[in-house]
């Protein structure tokens, strides 16, 4: 089980024939992901990595029953690629590309409303169901099948947290990067809902940062619905200099420490355990799970 992806996921790669598309499609196939086709306009009918290439997403779905898409196209073509996938009613779309213009994402959000598509990203490392399915570019060595769900705004920090969980004896059900951009697809709240409903998931880690309101929204949701499974949060950026964009377009804050304090206070009030430092996420979750079992 786990959320969003499993052994029945049939993946399509938009932009598969490009350099990044080729490299990452190969990695995903090696990990065991069922990649069924690629889409590159103008290259339909060809074959790449022993997979059929189509001109259009709808065509590829018709021929291969693909039910998820990973997008590896340059920033200026991302919006069109997503819109095409939405139009073809692709159930799940994961966008790894960073630096997508924000107005393009507003257009995408308008198209997503009322559609059948769930969007992850852009600027996301993707989704990983350890040992089952990988959609994205994340490190996979330390990930281990298990019961903890990870929701994050940051790629390398997700790898770090995943590694800490594995070291603490806790495997992961699904790890998911919602992406570092301000306007994106699924958010913390959507992912919490999915993890609460997933029988495999027994605990959830939220990895947040300065900027935006994802963490406050998650806190409000958890206050309303209750913390149905143990949740640990790690919020980074307390020491960031004010009024700067810190790498992620979404991580812009006026006063780093105030912003982080507000987020932590809101989550703590909602019943979330706060990891005292980014290197203690794994042990915080381990202790919480042990306490619950006792």
């Amino acid at each position: 089980m786990g959320i969003l992806i499993d052994q029945n996921t049939r993946l399509l790669c938009q932009g598969m024939t490009g350099w990044a598309g080729t490299y990452h499609t190969n990695r995903m196939i090696q990990y065991g992901t069922k990649v069924v086709a690629g889409v590159t306009p103008g290259k339909g009918g060809k074959s790449h990595l022993d997979l059929p290439v189509f001109n259009h997403v709808a065509e590829a779905i018709g021929a291969t029953a693909a039910n998820a898409s990973a997008i590896f196209v340059p920033p200026d073509r991302v919006a069109d690629a997503i819109l095409e996938a939405i139009e073809a009613e692709m159930p799940l779309v994961v966008v790894v590309t960073e630096r997508v213009p924000v107005l393009d994402m507003i257009r995408v959000r308008e198209a997503l409303a009322g559609s059948r598509t769930r969007l992850i990203g852009p600027n996301s490392q993707g989704i990983l169901a350890p040992d089952v399915c990988q959609i994205g570019v994340m490190a996979t060595d330390r990930a281990k099948r298990g019961t903890i769900g990870v929701i994050s705004r940051s790629a390398s920090l997700t790898s770090e947290v995943t590694s800490q969980l594995t070291t603490a004896g806790l495997g992961q059900s699904t790890t998911i990067g919602i992406g570092g951009d301000p306007v994106h697809g699924l958010g913390f709240v959507d992912c919490l809902e999915l993890f609460f409903a997933d029988p495999q998931t027994e605990g959830i880690v939220l990895v947040g940062e300065i900027g935006g309101t994802e963490e406050q929204d998650a806190a409000r949701y958890l206050r309303e619905t209750g913390v149905k499974k143990p949740v640990v949060a790690c919020i980074v950026g307390r020491s960031a200099p004010p009024e700067r964009r810190m790498g992620h377009a979404g991580a812009l804050t006026l006063h780093g420490s105030d912003d982080v304090d507000r987020k932590i206070a809101a989550l703590r009030d909602a019943g979330v355990a706060i990891a005292p430092s980014p290197h203690l996420v794994g042990t915080t979750m381990r202790d919480l799970v042990a306490k619950r079992a006792a």
């Binding site: 107005l103 507003i106 300065i210 950026g237 700067r244």
Partner: protein, 389 residues
Amino acid sequence: MQLQEFQAKILLSQYAIGSPAGAVAMTADEAEAAAARLNVDRIFVKAQILAGERLAAGGIRTVNSAKAAKAAAGELLGQKLVTAQTTAQGQTVKSVLVEAGIKAEQELYLSLQIDPVSGAILLTAGRGGADIEKRVAAQELKLESLALGVNGERRAGEVAELAQRIGLSGGLTTKFGELVKKLHRAFVELDAGLIEINPLVVTDAGELVAVDAKVVVDDNALFRHPELKELRDESKTDRVELHAQRHQINFVQMDGDIGTVVNGAGLALATLDMIAAAGGSPANFMDIRTTAKSLDIAQGISLVLENSRAKVLLVNVFGGGMQPCDTIAEALGIAFRRSKRILPVVIRMTGNNEDLARLRLANYNLPKTECTDMWQAVTRAVALAQGRA
């Protein structure tokens, strides 16, 4: 990218959005000439920096002659202006905007910005003027807002209703609606993240005039706007940060003595937090983007080595699919070979190709300490910086 006020006003004028007559001046003499051309008895000399709250900080002077404009410009130009919105160091005033004074019947606030929550362009308006943030926070002032789509499709009446809620009536309501339409077009065509007009002045003739304007353009959309990209290169105050950007590295210079080399924004922020928690102080924020190659990363590492405040280099890397550890190891080798200044380096590298990275590092003659976990690496770097190791 934030534009200077004068650049913002020039861009808005292309959409027929009016602002007071004026001209930018780089010298006191230019300011005098610009003031003389205005031929009015009330003149503003406004320091051009990328921060607000200039009035309270003495960055906006009101004068009544060209001669006085020259004197005011002479005082402002080349000075560091510290306002409530700048850092303690302030920003150097490189130009002033010399502008005709406008008599305000009423001052309004108007902005369009990206709203991540609704995924729309949010129109916000209210009675405006200085200190608006404070007055809104103190609940003395309520701003009205309305979500607009990219195509601006809205029931015609909605903007008019908003105008009425902020106290406008009659012809002003119509003018306000027209202005919002123009601003929306400018917002979409310029790929803006924010356009803020505060104050938007209602003149005694019933016209709406943008007395101040702030435009922030989406950096990620600059490929569609080569003309704006040039403005960025001129206006960017920190050459070091711009250099890093060109090499696919997000870099922010800080005041401490521990140079950081990290891949990914989240891990980079976590590293800064841990340094602070361990009693140390970072010299920079560095987020190596996944698109950076080893030569790019070497450029970023050189920036840290060249920073005379840095006493130690802390490398915290979790290699992913795009950027395996050995790429960053290779970059370390290149940067240290090139650099005249050698710093002790604490290396924590894990993830994709970490074994290969370790082999590479063994071949370079670096004054290095290798750590397996990041907290150990952080405390080691702090100890080195403080001369305790």
